[in-house]
């Protein structure tokens, strides 16, 4: 790798522009985090209504409201991150279809439309059958809405750390993690033991799978590409090391441990702590992964 020549050449930049600043910061982290909750709760609603239609019918209205709130948070943070936010409408009137941003904006708009239709079905018409039919389409659309950010990160050619296969898996896992955590907090003790156990398992397995992916990148990522090695240095003793591990512990390790304990002790209280820890840790983990590739000097 070329950085190994540094000791021999003693090459040092003595005049240049400043090191790059972070363009996609906490606002984009909020965007991704809110979208994980907004789509994740739809996945879990679909799952619970299919598996436990009698016991979980009460979640229909609160679940769709939560999804609407978080999807609008996602859209809000998307718009306020634009340097020219009042030109947001250009995406719809001058669309460029090779851009994941354009495709994502169109899909998210359709997703909001379906959520509003579901709200109409359950709140105005009190029609559960119509709600459930719409939920199927909404769940299908929630998949690409969740994934498009991975496509956007993949299109960011300069940032070698963000690869589509890993990021798409991470996006789906983040949605399942956030969705199951939110559902656990939403359902309270109204859920039966069987439902709580299923939600705990989704939370625990998505945390475990996401943690394995992060660790795989952490340990092996730098072996294949020098830019990835240089990027990961920011979390291997660099300035984001502590934040990276705080995120991993809160988002994945604590929820995994608490899910195991709660399944053994049948303690819903532990599950609530696991859910809160997962939601907080997910934000931190996503933020670190978003920021570190931007610290690398491109030129």
């Amino acid at each position: 790798m070329v950085h190994e020549t540094l000791a021999a050449t003693n090459a040092i930049v003595v005049l240049d522009v400043a090191l790059p600043s972070v363009f996609w910061g906490w606002i984009i982290t909020m965007n991704m985090w809110a979208k994980s909750v907004g789509t994740g709760i739809i996945f879990l609603t679909f799952f619970l209504l299919k598996k436990y239609p009698e016991q979980t019918g009460f979640i229909r209205f609160p679940a769709v409201v939560i999804s609407i709130v978080f999807i609008h948070l996602f859209l809000f943070f998307t718009v306020i991150d634009l340097h020219q936010m009042f030109r947001f409408w250009h995406i719809f009137f001058y669309p460029h279809l090779t851009s994941a941003i354009t495709i994502g904006a169109w899909m998210a708009t359709g997703f909001v439309g379906l959520l509003l239709a579901m709200t109409y079905a359950i709140y105005m018409k009190k029609d559960e059958a119509m709600y459930d039919k719409l939920l199927g389409w909404t769940t299908l659309l929630a998949i690409p809405v969740t994934l498009y950010t991975a496509g956007l990160m993949a299109e960011a050619t300069a940032r070698e750390l963000w690869q589509m296969p890993t990021e798409s898996a991470q996006m789906i896992l983040a949605a399942l993690l956030a969705g199951s955590a939110t559902m656990l907090l939403l359902g309270g003790n109204k859920f039966s033991e069987a439902v709580k156990k299923d939600l705990a398992l989704v939370l625990g397995f998505s945390a475990a799978a996401a943690f394995i992916l992060y660790m795989s990148e952490y340990i092996f990522g730098g072996m294949k590409a020098e830019e990835v090695a240089a990027t990961l240095a920011f979390v291997k003793g660099g300035e984001y090391t502590a934040m990276f591990w705080i995120g991993q512990v809160l988002a994945f390790l604590i929820p995994m441990a608490l899910v195991c304990l709660s399944l053994k002790n049948k303690s819903y209280y532990l599950l609530k702590i696991a859910a809160v820890s997962a939601l907080v840790g997910l934000w931190v983990s996503k933020h670190v992964w978003l920021v570190i590739p931007q610290l690398l000097n491109m030129s």
Binding site: L6, L15, A18, S299
Partner: protein
């Protein structure tokens, strides 16, 4: 016609004439740049050497910035130039994320993306880009890559074994070439980059009004 650029790094002496000409011609705001010359020192005293590398947009044939732009603000001209429509740009910074050469910036005055356009407005009037005109040693060679009789095509033919592009592994197909460059000049990971050697300082904003 596919316009391209070549810089002969054997000739460049780091005078920054191109940088200044670009700033003036395109009214590039302070603390930003479309073209700049990077200085890298190599070796240990007394065996040291200073290298100069002009860096600008590579006008890639497979441009990641054009692909990621959600509103086609970044677009191709027929002559191969990757141009920008600042009235259409929404400032999402997707192009900043996508460009592997760090060649795009957000203009602090217009709050839109901006970059080198090979002085497309001058080319429309059959004039050379301002940086080409300003270079006292004619290290910047500009012309039509499709025309075998153009200066740039001839230069590439004459220096075939020594022509390079930056980050070829990215598959961007740059229309910007270098002759006489090495890793130290063309690969940012091949040199140590610390804080404190900046072209501009951080005194960019003044806080007016309010209590202090």
């Amino acid at each position: 016609m596919q316009l391209g650029f070549l810089v002969d790094l054997h000739l460049c002496m780091g005078c920054k004439g191109c940088e200044i000409a670009c700033k003036v011609e395109n009214e590039v705001p302070l603390s930003t740049w479309r073209l700049r010359v990077k200085y890298v020192d190599v070796g240990a005293f007394p065996e040291t050497k200073r290298t100069f590398t002009p860096l600008r947009c590579n006008h890639c044939a497979n441009a990641p910035c054009e692909r990621i732009c959600p509103v086609s603000a970044l677009h191709y001209l027929e002559n191969g130039i990757v141009n920008i429509d600042k009235e259409r740009c929404i400032g999402c910074a997707g192009c900043v994320m996508a460009c592997p050469y760090g060649a795009i910036y957000i203009d602090p005055q217009t709050q839109t993306a901006d970059k080198c356009t090979y002085c497309a407005h001058r080319i429309a009037s059959s004039m050379m880009p301002s940086c080409v005109v300003a270079c006292p040693v004619e290290a910047n060679i500009f012309g039509d890559l499709d025309d075998p009789t153009s200066n740039i095509s001839k230069y590439i033919q004459q220096h075939q074994g020594d022509v390079q592009v930056r980050k070829p592994e990215k598959g961007t197909d740059p229309h910007h070439f270098y002759v006489g460059g090495g890793n130290v000049q063309l690969n940012p990971l091949a040199s140590f980059r610390g804080e404190g050697h900046n072209l501009f300082n951080n005194l960019t904003h003044i806080h007016l009004g309010g209590h202090h």
